[in-house]
């Protein structure tokens, strides 16, 4: 699948933003006003920049307002409705948090639940597609949710450290656990994706055309002389070329280095604010590589009509480090 930068930024940043909203909502906050303002602004910033970025890949963005109308059937519409609801409920909670020095428990928990459901509906935009065997699994939702929470915790830990808040150590410990869990889920996703080919899904060229019952099928003449929308969008070839290198970037920058940096910050107490900031930034870079591969390595059933990549899985897990 074509890895559009706008959609990569959308899924990573909005996940972290909603993750932080949820954590603040259930009481992971600090005491200083400076922390509170920065945390609320950053949570909004990540979520809103992510959502705006998603608008950038629309061909007719002026009609995006209609996207709030089909929540009965469409996960993409649900994602739009839920993100606006989450921003609203979190906004109400944040008003009390910032101006009245109180955390309204019920409102905070509602915002946290909405944030989780929003990340889940983002994941379902992809997990619902039977046409893309890599994505069509509950593990896709588990990946998006666990990375949203882990990224949110990393951001929270850095903010708490920055303003010298008490909860720094606890948030860092939670971030360590969340990172390990998220990468465990991702490893399981990758192991499955290595085998989830179009052929294993029963959508190879012979199956797609129904001609497989007669014998071996291979493309003889293409239907058009140069690549079309379908091939650019759904039989994307370029991104797979560097899949092994990108997999290493994702694992080192997304998992190994942030884990080491958070460990140092938490247990050696070496300039925790600086170390946690570096951990967060390195993790973000790793997540961009992870999300690039999520799109670029995925194969769409329509590629089978063109005889492209029917047997391609994700890069084997042996290439991870």
């Amino acid at each position: 699948m074509h890895p559009a930068l706008s959609v990569i930024v959308f899924t990573t940043l909005s996940g972290i933003g909603f993750g932080l909203m949820g954590l603040l909502g259930i009481g992971f906050g600090g005491d200083t006003l400076a922390f509170r303002w920065t945390a609320v602004v950053l949570a909004y910033g990540f979520a809103v920049i992510g959502l705006l970025s998603s608008v950038a890949h629309l061909k007719s963005p002026a009609r995006a307002i209609h996207a709030f109308s089909q929540w009965r059937s469409s996960w993409l519409s649900r994602e739009g409705v839920l993100s606006v609801l989450t921003l609203g409920v979190f906004g109400l909670w944040a008003l009390a948090f910032l101006f009245m020095d109180t955390s309204i428990g019920a409102l905070g928990i509602a915002a946290a639940l909405l944030a989780l459901v929003t990340i889940f509906s983002t994941s379902m935009i992809y997990a619902q597609l039977r046409t893309v065997p890599h994505w069509a699994t509950w593990l896709t939702s588990a990946t998006f949710l666990s990375f949203g929470i882990a990224g949110g915790l990393l951001l929270l830990a850095w903010l708490l450290a920055l303003f010298g808040e008490e909860g720094t150590r606890r948030a860092s410990q939670f971030a360590l656990v969340a990172l390990l869990v998220a990468w465990g889920v991702k490893a399981a996703w990758w192991r499955r994706a290595a085998k989830a080919t179009l052929i294993s899904a029963g959508s190879g060229t012979g199956d797609a055309t129904g001609l497989g019952r007669l014998g071996g099928v291979r493309p003889f003449e293409p239907p058009h002389t140069s690549p079309n929308y379908l091939m650019r969008e759904m039989a994307f070839e370029v991104g797979r070329k560097r899949a092994r290198a990108l997999r290493r970037v994702a694992v080192w920058a997304g998992a190994v280095l942030p884990l080491l940096l958070v460990l140092l910050a938490t247990y050696a107490s070496l300039a925790p604010a600086a170390l946690l900031l570096i951990a967060l930034l390195v993790h973000l870079a790793g997540m961009l590589a992870e999300r690039w591969l999520f799109f670029a390595e995925a194969r769409h059933a329509v590629a089978s009509f063109y005889g492209i990549g029917q047997a391609d899985g994700a890069v084997s897990s042996r290439a991870m480090l």
Partner: protein, 250 residues
């Protein structure tokens, strides 16, 4: 509404006969011609006269080589377009309500005034039936020539989809699959018409008729190269008499 109708009164669609299709691409060209001047935005071409021409088409004709184990390879031409699925995933994923399936005849259409060009419907379709128009910024797909089939201003024989009307080999047929006695339904029953990618759960309306078994095809060991190795048949007539006469002397 992007929820699907429970049932449709008619199930209009196409039968494509892979035994008959000669791969001439006339259906694709006729489709492009009609749908550029009809329903919705014209089907644009980008860099039409340049090095990398690319455009929006609602029908694409692939050609495959099929190699049975014990027979020579054969070529099968394979037109690919929207199958107007009963469980159309392209409709339910649409966030704006632009994609819909009509309850009266089952045709799947795009309301271009609501389409924001997100492309998710094209991702949801396993058949590559939807192509984004890069000029208009909206999703295009086969309309089953909805502006021909009900059109009182054109002669009765033209009230079929443009691809069907133009096919010189009669490989494409249009009709109502909800009626078991319709010509298309009978054809599917007689010839073993099949669904594309049934594993996707889309329940396509359009059906494909498989190439007929090539009963008279030469065995795999035959073919051009083996002519010289054929055992000489016993000739008849004058040659036969000569043959027998010479056999006496042999």
């Amino acid at each position: 509404m992007t929820t699907l109708p429970q049932t449709t009164n008619k199930k209009l669609g196409l039968v494509i006969d892979l035994d008959v299709c000669v791969g001439c691409h006339a259906c694709a060209v006729a489709c492009k011609e009609w749908n550029t001047g009809a329903y919705g935005a014209p089907l644009s071409d980008i860099d039409a006269y340049g090095a990398e021409p690319s455009g929006t088409w609602l029908n694409r004709v692939h050609s495959y080589e099929v190699k049975p184990e014990d027979k020579p390879a054969q070529i099968v031409h394979f037109p690919r377009s929207c199958l107007h699925c009963e469980d159309a995933p392209c409709v339910t994923v649409c966030p704006t309500g632009a994609s819909y399936k009509r309850s009266e005849d089952g045709i799947v259409l795009v309301d271009e005034d609501r389409c924001m060009g997100c492309g998710l419907c094209a991702w949801a379709c396993p058949y590559g039936a939807r192509e984004m128009d890069m000029d208009a910024g909206v999703m295009k797909k086969c309309t089953l020539c909805v502006d021909r089939i009900y059109n009182d201003h054109i002669p009765q024989e033209d009230r079929v989809p443009s691809c069907v009307r133009t096919c010189p080999a009669n490989a494409r047929h249009f009709g109502d699959f909800a009626d078991p006695d319709s010509a298309v339904s009978r054809m599917v029953a007689e010839r073993g018409g099949y669904d594309l990618m049934p594993e996707q759960g889309t329940r396509p309306v359009n059906k494909y008729l498989p190439p007929r078994p090539k009963a008279d095809a030469m065995p795999a060991s035959g073919g051009c190269g083996s002519h010289g190795a054929q055992a000489p048949a016993t000739p008849g007539g004058l040659l036969g008499w000569l043959d027998r006469a010479l056999a006496v002397l042999d």
